[in-house]
């Protein structure tokens, strides 16, 4: 089913999952965590990572039943043609909607931090052009790119380490101030920035090797990102006092802004550039997911032609979401969609296919 030159190794699969997961949320996550679970924000993040791990297990169990299919081709096999194709389109919609939200958040933050006067459309077009260029390639080329762009995560961690010169560990205490219920609620919130593991539904069949290895790869990818997020949250929690945090919407950037080297005064700008890098790769990955769907339905599996109009839809979605009211609406829709498409539906599909005994076919 999947041509030889499209296959990716398990290592590449891991980076694929990583780069799809790490996205726009990292900058605002510490702020949100602090607001809900106070000093235990990092614990919430870890719990969220654990929850994601369970979801990955579900997705994996579902995908392994159809080792040579993407979600768009195995949906009809489980639920029948009509419903399956409808669901396939729903998934495309979800992927597109997520990409649009991601981009609009990205444009908001970039407009606020660096390019105050640059028009939103120019920024979006610049981003989308780059992402189209990557997303129209085959999975192998994308995976290569993702492996190397993961270096940015290491550099981001190193840059954040500089923050510890101003650390005050007492800000964290008492850790369990918010109580376990709030911590779990925080974890629920942290689930959202970790979204991206859905990519498994599309690229699982491209991976080489045994099922177990692929599960390991996906889990490892999720673990790395969870740890990275938890680390950033932790760092911000010990640097900003609980009193300041509510006023800081992007703590990692503020933290670095206050810090400077002899030659470079604004480390936050470097951090920001790296962040753009990973947002770019994440967007490409999401764009690929939706255009793979379009490709399946309209272009006989060739996603290249679909990338362009998928990007156009994303552009329109991101342009609409300028008003805070609309952004909030987007967020709410997306949360429901996330529970439905990433957790609920796969679980139902898994149970369904388990009992009806559908397999590869």
């Amino acid at each position: 089913m999947i041509p030889e030159k499209n296959r990716i190794t398990q290592g590449q699969l891991m980076f694929f999952v990583m780069q799809s997961q790490v996205g726009v949320g990292i900058l605002s996550l510490p702020h949100k965590m602090q607001a809900i679970s106070k000093g235990a924000g990092w614990i919430s993040t870890l719990i969220a990572g654990l929850a994601v791990q369970v979801v990955i297990l579900i997705l994996w169990a579902l995908c392994r039943r159809f080792p040579s299919d993407t979600i768009f081709s195995f949906l009809p096999k489980i639920t029948g043609n009509l419903l399956g194709n409808l669901l396939g389109f729903a998934y495309i919609g979800y992927f597109l909607f997520f990409t649009g939200t991601l981009l609009s958040k990205f444009a908001d933050i970039t407009g606020k931090w660096v390019l105050l006067t640059t028009p939103r459309w120019a920024l979006l077009i610049l981003t989308l052009l780059t992402c189209i260029y990557l997303a129209k390639e085959n999975v192998r080329v994308m995976a290569r790119m993702f492996v190397i762009s993961s270096l940015t995560i290491i550099v981001m961690v190193i840059l954040s380490l500089f923050g510890y010169t101003n650390a005050n560990f007492s800000y964290m205490f008492p850790i369990l101030e918010a109580g376990w219920w709030k911590i779990i609620k925080g974890a629920n919130e942290a689930l959202f920035p970790l979204v991206g593991y859905e990519v498994l539904l599309v690229i699982y069949s491209f991976g080489e090797g045994k099922e177990g290895g692929k599960l390991k790869a996906a889990s490892l990818g999720n673990m790395v990102i969870t740890l990275f997020y938890a680390f950033e949250v932790f760092t911000c929690l010990v640097i900003f006092s609980p009193g300041v945090m509510p006023f800081v919407s992007e703590p990692p950037l503020y933290m670095l802004k206050g810090f400077s080297f002899q030659i470079i005064q604004r480390i936050d700008l470097i951090f920001f550039s790296l962040w753009i890098f990973i947002v770019g790769t994440a967007t490409s990955s999401w764009l690929y997911m939706s255009s793979a769907g379009f490709g399946h339905f309209f272009h006989r599996g060739d996603h290249k032609k679909a990338v362009l109009y998928a990007a156009l839809i994303v552009f329109i979605l991101a342009m609409i979401a300028q008003d805070p009211a609309i952004t909030d609406l987007y967020d709410r829709i997306l949360k429901t969609a996330h529970y439905t498409f990433a957790i609920g539906l796969p679980l139902i599909l898994l149970i369904f296919s388990y009992f009806s005994g559908t397999r590869r076919a």
């Binding site: 290592g11 660096v114 390639e137 995976a143 290569r144 030659i263 470079i264 005064q265 700008l269 550039s273």
Partner: protein, 490 residues
């Protein structure tokens, strides 16, 4: 072409040959008698070595008078043919043609003249240490230079002819026990499909067979150095040598091959690694520094420490243009100077240096057209771009700087980030002859990084690079065997 058999009449044959060559003035013939038969020797005096004709054909024939012609002529290359239409082609390749009255066969004898320059060091690929011989315009000599270095029956040479009208002779070289057979097949297929009247230079061949002709990055390595060609052959790559040009083509190569120099391997490994890193750093400097400068000055001056900002700002404030205009202006002036420098004879070249460097560089600042920091930035860029040991990559580097400058003028640091992202995506897209261009970084192969950014000691390079998919990956097990000898033994 239709086959025409050699006629019994000598006169008819002669007329045919003359007509086929349109009575070209350099077509000469000489009559000869052998076995009591009238004969004629045809040759092009411009291409044939007349002394050899005299010594190897005429003299022996005159002396013996009777016998078998093949046995008497002492030349190495003799061919008997009966197709008259093939004779003109043989003549324009420098052979001479022997015809006898009443015999329906022609003899083609190879007596081509060899005029070639002597082997000398290539001017644009100099090294401090190492071999100082270089390829020349003569195919056989070039093959000799390679064969001499690899005295191994596994080295295979395959001849090709490119061009329909003016045929260029090509030689494809590879190590039979190392090279990936699919690669040879693919190169063979592409060379075979070249349909062009003339292929003037190896650049033509490269452009006709490379995978991504629209990419800015060179995908085939040109070299005039036999040692470089040999090193790549031993890694399982393929070398193409053309007649009439001192440049050999090496393929498939990765991005990093353009930054390797034989010097890296002739000096000690620490020094070699150091210079290699300097080269790669220069690549980054040459592409990025002008863009970074524009972004910092135009968008984020707060990145610089405050006292530096004042210095830079005071210089910039006198300049009426935005930084991007300054930068483009200076870069283009620099390119003009470079181009002028190549064309001029070396004595006038110095004048260009003075006019360009001193007059323009200094006056342009004093007149207030360009700021001092910009002159520094552009000079730094220029010097860095010339560090690369391959001319192709150095040109690519400088061109790459322009889109980045424009992006940075529009979007600042963000623009540069996108530019870099775009370049990286492009690099990991590129594949040449089934090899990833940006290997071993994308796809990542940690083992091969030993000879990429740095050069590990040679005794640690026990494996060939993986990118050309050689048949045998291992080169040797342990090269410093003497270390295992027991020192206590008498």
């Amino acid at each position: 072409m239709m086959e025409i058999s050699v006629s019994l009449s000598l006169q008819k044959n002669k007329e045919h040959i003359q007509n086929q060559l349109f009575h070209s003035s350099d077509l000469k013939w000489r009559s000869i008698r052998f076995n009591q038969l009238e004969g004629l020797i045809f040759f092009l005096e411009s291409l044939s070595d007349q002394q050899r004709i005299q010594k190897e054909i005429i003299q022996p024939l005159e002396e013996t008078k009777v016998g078998t012609v093949d046995e008497i002529i002492v030349s190495v290359g003799i061919e008997r043919i009966s197709d008259l239409s093939r004779l003109p082609q043989a003549l324009v390749q420098g052979n001479c043609v022997l015809l006898f009255e009443g015999i329906e066969e022609a003899l083609i004898v190879g007596v081509a003249a060899d005029y070639k320059r002597s082997i000398s060091e290539p001017v644009n690929e100099g090294v401090v240490r190492g071999a100082h011989d270089g390829f020349i315009e003569h195919l056989i000599t070039n093959l000799y230079l390679i064969r001499k270095r690899i005295e191994d029956p596994d080295l295979v040479v395959r001849y090709y002819e490119a061009g329909e009208a003016a045929k260029t002779k090509l030689a494809l070289l590879y190590m039979h026990d190392l090279v990936n057979p699919d690669l040879v097949k693919e190169v063979d297929r592409r060379l075979g499909s070249i349909a062009m009247d003339t292929t003037i230079s190896p650049g033509f061949i490269a452009e006709l067979i490379e995978d991504n002709p629209f990419s800015l990055f060179p995908q085939i390595l040109f070299t005039e150095r036999p040692d470089r060609a040999v090193a790549h052959l031993m890694e399982g790559r393929v070398v193409l040598v053309t007649d009439g040009d001192p440049n050999a083509l090496i393929l498939p190569v990765t991005f990093f091959a353009f930054f390797q120099s034989p010097d890296d391997y002739h000096s000690r490994w620490i020094a070699g690694s150091f210079t290699r890193m300097i080269r790669l750093m220069s690549f980054i400097t040459a592409t990025l520094v002008p863009a970074l400068y524009i972004a910092i000055v135009g968008f984020h001056p707060e990145i610089l420490p405050s006292n530096l900002i004042f210095t830079v700002k005071s210089s910039i404030d006198r300049v009426p243009f935005p930084p991007i205009v300054e930068a483009l202006l200076m870069q283009i002036i620099l390119e003009v100077l470079r181009e002028a420098g190549i064309r001029l004879p070396s004595r006038v070249g110095q004048t260009i240096g003075i006019v360009g460097g001193l007059v323009i560089g200094d006056a342009v600042v004093r007149a207030g057209f360009v700021s001092y920091p910009m002159v520094i930035v552009v000079a730094l860029t220029a010097i860095s771009s010339f560090v690369a040991p391959s001319n192709e990559i150095s040109t690519a580097t400088r061109i790459l700087g322009f889109p980045l400058m424009i992006l940075s003028a529009l979007f600042g640091l963000i623009g540069i980030t996108y530019g870099l992202l775009f370049i990286l995506i492009h690099l990991c897209k590129l594949e040449t002859f089934g090899t990833a261009y940006f290997a071993p970084v994308m796809p990542l192969r940690i083992k091969d990084l030993k000879d990429t950014f740095v050069r590990f000691p040679i005794w640690r390079l026990n494996q060939r690079p993986h990118d050309p998919h050689p048949k045998r990956l291992n080169q040797e097990k342990y090269s410093r065997g003497w270390e295992n000898d027991d020192p206590g033994k008498e």
